[in-house]
């Protein structure tokens, strides 16, 4: 049964290196019946027969391709390999890809719906039918909608998948503004910085073709999009690109860098602006690009009306604006070597258009004014003209596609102030992490609250405030947790509803992983396998039942079913969006839904499918991914077609072309081009929006002194800066707790401390320290390392999982059993009773668990610190450090939620609330997730 070496059939796979001697993957033509020898019996040749069915990894945001090997005899998934047809991941995965098998076969996973019995949080559950759960939730939602309490329905989602417009479709069909996300504790800062420049909130660096790569991130080990980006960063490096990493801590990524700048957290903007200044001063910028695409004329008109409106005047103004950002100033602020700053600046200029840069969380998520780090970074890309160039950084939308679904409902006339409060008119995403405080303040209540692949109690700052409101049945009347596993949050739900994992549901992905546009198709592998055997199912959960996987549902069908039950006869106008597009009155099926999109919304897919004699859906079921096109550079330069100019007006001074009141293009050197989706259609060095919305001092890229500026610290008195936000390459928030192979590799999160600091506190590796914030403290071990700047502590946020019950409520591979006590109202003390222990289960490995450490849950003791502009939580903490006392034990946590509410109020005072110009809640042009109808943007319409 020697495999002949055949060229891969798939157009994407053809671009991979030809296999020399050994093939990476079985040829797609044989995926439906593939024979391999069973390694368990090797060297005896025992043949196993598999169906290879592609799907998408569930673990991080990258949406890498997986190829599930379904045993044709047992119907079980034997393993997950990479999908070679996936353009982003190219058949390769990080450790979390193969670990999907652990998650699917997790002996502790929840297979049937559970309903709380007794008090919420008491931990008593009974199995219920899906009908019971769905009917109860549908009734509550229906009555809330009927009563006009539509703000009381909230869907709070983590990642990944079934998001964006596919879920927007559901909530908008219900007529609500009910989406809530995790983004403001994550990437909202960077998004804000990018969006104010270019209207698009994400960067898409073209690493593979770059000559210089600047990362304020750790993309060789984490982040959007770890595996696809790491591949291409290393490809770029191997072709000679230089890599500079700005990160306070020695990440794996920094370890591979040519230049590592360990900056004092929050000083990054100063360093980048110093680089910009060198490039300006030494005239290394791309004069033509800046002249053509930056809104410098608007800047001069608004800020220097007395000066002549010439480009040289603009450059002179820039030199004046940034004159204090000398390398020495940047070095004072950051601690970085000024010589290296100059060298890096010149290297970046040398790379020119092939300069790729990236920030996603890191400093942007850590600091007050963190969004300005991204803004400064984009400034640098703009100066050297490396925007949407080969080797440069494109806006995400140039490398991404969101296929339109059938039947999009209209945007609702609704604005939910629990997620989009007037204090944060410019917040880039929902003020999700303030929800407990809003509820406590009496801003509203929730009739139905859904959490999905989200664990706010654990993941968000100030988790104890979350626990308090989750436990309050008056504030949150029903809480349904859609989850395949137990979590800290699920423990405080009314329903725990098992939803499918990576290989157990449908989903459509498209990520800006490289200079290309592609889609990836997540599909329920067991259902597909059983259907190929001739069985038919109306719903995925029936296939799971047939395969012995309990009653695990998938989201698509859940929302269709729930919507039908909310509006059973269609009188509310909801049901019609969940009916078959071809046979109205019949329930929409996932085959129809995705089949319709693949047929109508994915350019080139129907043709590619036809070439293989397949329907577009069958093609996607076979390959799991499709490459639409590559390149996508310079999309902003695209001229507007004459047809698009009909009926459009041109504004004389700015050259902006408008249609129906919104800008659609801009005249550049006499040609009308698409430009960027900003008010000026250009790259906005100067944001009139920020000026108009009461932030004139932030209208241009500016260094904001962070709340953890080094001058705020009295090091001698034990004050230090804690950076609590870094990932490990092996884990993914609270989704990987049931992956034994990952937890075996990583299971503790000690506090990184420089030897100099360790000497001051008289501690060595593994000694306990007590770290106090404004609202409480935690006790953790110390890791003394040369990989951190003196004065700064670092601690990974991936660990510290806990459960309240010995037998249930948390994955035993990764959780510590804790006691939680309320000492006084709002004063909570958590103490570990024991760490991870071996346990008996169907998996013999569970009795071989050798690690005891579950880490320490630091996020509980962080107050909320919302940035007044971006709304992003500023994660970095000023802490007081001391050697642990006699009564302190590893993992001890104390929190006072009264204090956390005080801190919340203090940060709220920094806001500059709506209305803005025109009595708007939010600038109309500024992107908003689940955008409501334009009318809803106006405050007067609702009051």
């Amino acid at each position: 049964m020697k495999t002949e070496i055949v060229p891969p059939l798939h157009p994407v796979a053809q671009t991979l290196d030809a296999p020399a001697g050994l093939a990476s993957c079985p040829p797609p033509a044989r995926w439906d019946d593939w024979t391999e020898y069973d390694p368990t019996y090797w060297p005896r040749k025992v043949e196993k027969h598999y169906r290879l069915i592609p799907t998408i990894c569930f673990n991080c945001e990258a949406g890498c391709g997986l190829l599930a090997y379904v045993d044709r005899e047992t119907g079980r998934i034997r393993k997950f390999e990479g999908n070679p047809a996936h353009p982003g991941s190219r058949g390769r995965n990080c450790a979390k890809g193969p670990a999907t098998l652990n998650q699917v076969t997790d002996p502790e996973r929840i297979l049937y719906p559970l309903k709380r019995v007794g008090r919420r949080g008491e931990g008593k559950w009974r199995r219920v039918t899906w009908d019971e759960a769905l009917d109860d939730l549908a009734t509550r939602i229906r009555s809330a909608l009927k009563d006009g309490r539509r703000d009381e329905i909230m869907y709070h989602v983590g990642r990944p998948g079934h998001e964006l417009i596919y879920n927007q479709r559901v909530l908008h069909a219900w007529g609500i503004d009910g989406h809530n996300s995790h983004t403001n504790i994550c990437s909202a800062g960077a998004r804000t910085g990018y969006a104010f420049w270019q209207g698009y909130d994400r960067p898409s660096p073209d690493y593979a073709n770059a000559r210089f790569i600047l990362l304020l991130s750790s993309h060789l080990e984490a982040g959007h999009y770890f595996n696809p980006h790491a591949q291409r960063i290393i490809d770029g490096k191997s072709r000679g690109a230089k890599l500079c990493v700005i990160d306070t801590r020695l990440s794996n990524t920094a370890s591979r860098a040519d230049y590592w700048l360990s900056t004092w957290p929050g000083s990054e903007t100063a360093v980048i602006l110093a680089i910009c200044k060198i490039i300006l001063e030494e005239e290394l910028y791309d004069r033509d690009f800046v002249r053509r695409w930056v809104n410098w004329e608007e800047y001069l008109r608004e800020e220097h009306p007395a000066k002549s409106c010439s480009f040289d005047e603009f450059i002179a103004a820039l030199l004046e604006l940034y004159k204090e950002y000398t390398p020495q100033f940047a070095a004072r602020e950051s601690g970085a070597d000024p010589g290296v700053i100059v060298e890096v600046a010149r290297e970046i200029a040398r790379a020119g258009h092939a300069f790729a840069a990236h920030i996603w969380r890191n400093a942007a998520a850590g600091n007050l004014g963190g969004w300005q780090v991204a803004r400064a970074l984009q400034f640098l890309s703009v100066l050297v003209g490396a925007v949407a160039t080969p080797g440069g950084t494109s806006p995400s939308a140039f490398n991404k596609i969101i296929p339109s679904p059938p039947l999009m409902p209209p945007a609702p006339q609704a604005w939910n102030e629990l997620t989009w409060p007037p204090e944060y008119p410019l917040a880039f995403f929902e003020m999700s992490f303030l929800l407990p405080h809003f509820l406590k303040e009496g801003r509203g209540k929730l009739a139905a609250y859904f959490t999905r692949v989200y664990n706010p109690l654990w993941t968000n700052p100030d988790g104890m405030s979350w626990m308090e409101v989750l436990n309050d049945e008056k504030l949150i009347e029903r809480h349904a947790c859609l989850t395949p596993t137990w979590s800290e949050t699920a423990w405080f739900a009314d329903y725990v509803l098992p939803m499918g994992l990576a290989s157990e549901r449908h989903d459509l992905m498209s990520q800006e992983t490289q200079a290309a546009r592609w889609i990836g198709f997540r599909q329920p592998v067991l259902r597909v396998a059983l259907e190929r055997q001739g069985q038919t199912f109306n719903n995925t959960w029936e296939a799971h039942r047939a395969a012995g996987f309990g009653e695990v549902w998938e989201e698509d069908e859940f929302w269709i079913e729930l919507s039908w039950r909310i509006d059973p006869d269609g009188e509310m106008g909801i049901r019609k969006y969940f009916e078959s597009p071809s046979q109205p009155g019949r329930k929409l099926t996932v085959d129809e839904f995705y089949g319709w999109m693949f047929e109508h919304s994915v350019p080139g897919l129907p043709d590619a499918a036809a070439k293989e004699g397949l329907t577009p859906l069958a093609y996607m079921r076979k390959y799991g991914a499709f490459l639409i096109d590559e390149g996508g550079y310079d999309a902003h330069e695209k001229p507007l077609a004459p047809s698009q100019l009909e009926g459009a007006t041109t504004e004389a001074t700015s050259g902006i072309i408008s249609y129906n009141g919104s800008a659609v293009g801009v005249t550049v050197d006499g040609t009308v081009r698409v430009g960027f989706p900003t008010p000026s259609r250009k790259l906005e060095f100067f944001s009139k929006t920020l000026k108009d919305w009461k932030w004139p001092e932030a209208a241009i890229p500016t260094y904001v002194r962070s709340h953890v500026h080094r001058e705020n610290f009295d090091i001698g008195r034990g004050e230090m800066l804690l950076m609590p936000t870094f990932r490990l390459p092996t884990l993914i928030h609270t989704r990987s707790g049931n992956a034994k192979w990952l937890n075996e590799i990583s299971h503790r999160n000690p506090i990184w401390m420089h030897p100099q600091d360790a000497a001051c506190f008289n501690v060595k590796t593994d000694d306990l320290v007590k770290v106090s914030t404004e609202i409480g403290y935690f006790v953790d071990r110390v890791w003394v390392t040369e990989g951190i700047r003196p004065g700064v502590l670092a601690c990974s946020h991936h660990l510290g999982r806990w459960r309240l019950d010995e037998t249930s409520g948390g994955e035993k591979w990764s959780t510590a059993l804790v006691d939680l006590q309320q000492l006084e109202p709002g004063q909570w003390r958590m103490r570990q009773r024991h760490g991870v222990r071996p346990f008996t289960s169907d998996d013999p490995d569970s009795s071989r668990v050798w690690w005891e450490d579950a880490g320490v849950h630091q996020n509980l003791v962080f107050p909320v610190q919302p940035d007044p502009v971006s709304g992003a939580h500023c994660w970095h903490q000023k802490v007081q450090v001391e050697k642990a006392g006699r009564d302190d034990r590893y993992g001890d946590i104390f929190v006072d939620t009264n204090k956390s509410h005080e801190v919340y109020r203090r940060w709220m005072e920094q806001t500059r609330p709506a209305p803005g110009p025109g009595n708007l809640r939010r600038p109309l042009w500024l992107p908003r997730a689940y955008r409501p109808a334009t009318e809803a943007f106006y405050l007067r319409r609702l009051t």
């Binding site: 390999e81 990479g82 890791w783």
Partner: protein, 511 residues
């Protein structure tokens, strides 16, 4: 055709995908690894850096594991992949001593050895190993080193490659590009009390992770992540060496005494004709029992006989021991029948006794992973030990028999002489300049590390100096009971030495 790996650490990002993909492909249990990514850190802030090293079987062309494996459970495939067949494995763990790269482990369910087998089951159908396929940055390449066009050959032709421990003569077929030099000398790294994002597995060899025994740090490379390796051989192995030295020594000393005394009467005296061979038979039997008991698959002990690898000194040793046991039994039988043994029996017995004593040096020599055990002195120490053990056991039993005082005096002199020789050889072994870093590591552990008490008090003081002093005293004072005590102490000292030798030999980290 020769399959080999090239791992490019200019491309490796330390993500552990290979580790997990391997676990998935082979269903490798929790606690053990076929491949893993070691992390070290070097340098001072802000010039500090972390380095990764992907560790696994080197698929050696001269694989010590294949040579030592008594049942050929480890074998070369025609494409020179070093594969294994766990249905032949008896769990002797000698492969784990032979491998200089820590590649093998014992599967907790099958209790047999396992390691990376290059995904031979995939190679067989033309597919890359699972780790090669998964690697995000294509840091791992696999291919035919004999084919100039293969990806591995092309890499090796154009880049500077390193391999681990080439001086071991193993001809590894795993080549590294851009690996940090510290990975090539693991015993120079500084272990840490725990790891960056993991704890130490409590099953790990504690001697490997204890802080470097030497006073000053030899290297600035700190181990910040690694996986556990158990100490494969323990006191049970020391016990078998010990019983074997008694078994072999008793007849050597008996024959020497017979020859030296020149007395014909002694040849039929029960002490020499029955008691001595009986001790030899008994301790040979005990040796066999301990040998079998220390197997992870004692139920398969007879595979050594029915599926033997004649190149393995474990097999050769078994044959020698069996032959020796048979000769001793014959000697005893003749003694019981009151037939005077022919000189040929003595000659055969002494030859086989010496072989029994000495073959372990060749077995330990085949344990190529353990530098300490490669000592040229070890064979002589084993022989000296045999003399000590033989004379000691005879001194202990002598009071129960009517033996000529001349003979006892001869045994006494062998005892004193062999103790002196053994002690000085041990000291020479320990105090001579170490011939490798691993030996320095092991010797430091013995001289000044956590084995120092066992060595200085147990081996030198109680096992050598006190017995010498007591024997001299007993001769002078004619206090023969004290002589028995001296002999007992010497025997205990021998056991402690064997245990220290086995523990220290396995202490230096191999990877």
């Amino acid at each position: 055709m020769r399959y080999g790996f090239v791992i490019d650490h200019n491309r490796c990002i330390g993500c552990h995908a290979c580790t997990v993909a391997c676990k998935e492909e082979h269903d490798v249990p929790v606690g053990v690894f076929r491949t893993w990514v070691k992390y070290i850190e070097k340098g001072h802030f802000p010039a500090s850096r972390r380095h990764f090293g992907v560790m696994r079987c080197n698929h050696c062309d001269a694989a010590p594991c294949v040579e030592i494996c008594p049942t050929s459970a480890l074998f070369y495939r025609p494409d020179r992949i070093v594969d294994f067949d766990n249905s032949r494995c008896i769990g002797c763990q000698s492969c784990m001593q032979a491998c200089p790269y820590d590649a093998l482990y014992i599967h907790p369910d099958t209790h047999t050895a396992a390691k990376c087998n290059f995904c031979a089951h995939r190679i067989e159908i033309g597919l890359e190993p699972a780790c090669v396929l998964v690697c995000p940055t294509r840091a791992i390449s696999a291919g035919d080193l004999d084919d100039a066009e293969s990806p591995v050959s092309r890499l090796l032709a154009s880049e500077k490659a390193a391999s681990r421990k080439p001086h071991k003569g193993t001809d590894p077929k795993l080549f590294y590009l851009g690996i940090d030099g510290a990975f090539l000398q693991p015993s120079l790294m500084e272990p840490q009390p725990s790891h960056l994002f993991a704890a130490h597995n409590p099953a790990a060899n504690q001697y490997t992770i204890e802080p470097t025994a030497s006073a000053e740090p030899l290297s600035s490379a700190q181990v910040v992540y690694d996986v556990a390796h158990r100490q494969a051989w323990d006191w049970m192995s020391a016990l078998y060496l010990w019983t074997k030295s008694i078994a072999a020594g008793v007849l050597i000393i008996a024959i020497l005494t017979l020859w030296s005394s020149g007395s014909e009467k002694n040849r039929t005296a029960p002490f020499f004709a029955i008691m001595s061979p009986a001790i030899a038979v008994l301790f040979t039997g005990l040796t066999a029992i301990f040998l079998i008991a220390h197997l992870k698959r004692p139920d398969r002990f007879y595979y050594i006989l029915i599926k033997p690898n004649p190149r393995s000194w474990l097999v050769r040793g078994t044959w020698i021991l069996m032959a020796y046991g048979a000769v001793a039994a014959l000697w005893m039988a003749l003694g019981v029948l009151r037939i005077s043994s022919p000189p040929a029996i003595y000659a055969l017995a002494i030859a086989l006794a010496l072989a029994s004593a000495a073959y372990s040096a060749f077995l330990f020599g085949q344990a190529k992973g353990r530098d300490l055990w490669q000592s040229p002195l070890f064979i002589w120490i084993l022989i000296a030990q045999t003399f000590v053990a033989g004379s000691a056991i005879l001194l202990i039993v002598a009071p129960f028999f009517t033996t000529s005082t001349h003979a006892v005096a001869l045994v006494e002199s062998y005892f004193v002489l062999s103790l002196l020789i053994n002690g000085s050889m041990i000291l020479t072994q320990i105090l001579m300049p170490p011939y490798s870093e691993d030996v320095r590591y092991a010797v430091n552990l013995v001289v000044s590390g956590s084995l120092r008490r066992r060595f200085w008090w147990g081996v030198i003081t109680m096992g050598t100096l006190l017995p010498l002093a007591l024997t001299v005293y007993s001769v002078v004072a004619s206090a023969f009971a004290i002589e028995v005590l001296a002999a007992l102490m010497a025997l205990v000292g021998l056991f402690i030495f064997d245990d220290v030798w086995i523990t220290a030999g396995q202490a230096p980290p191999l990877s």
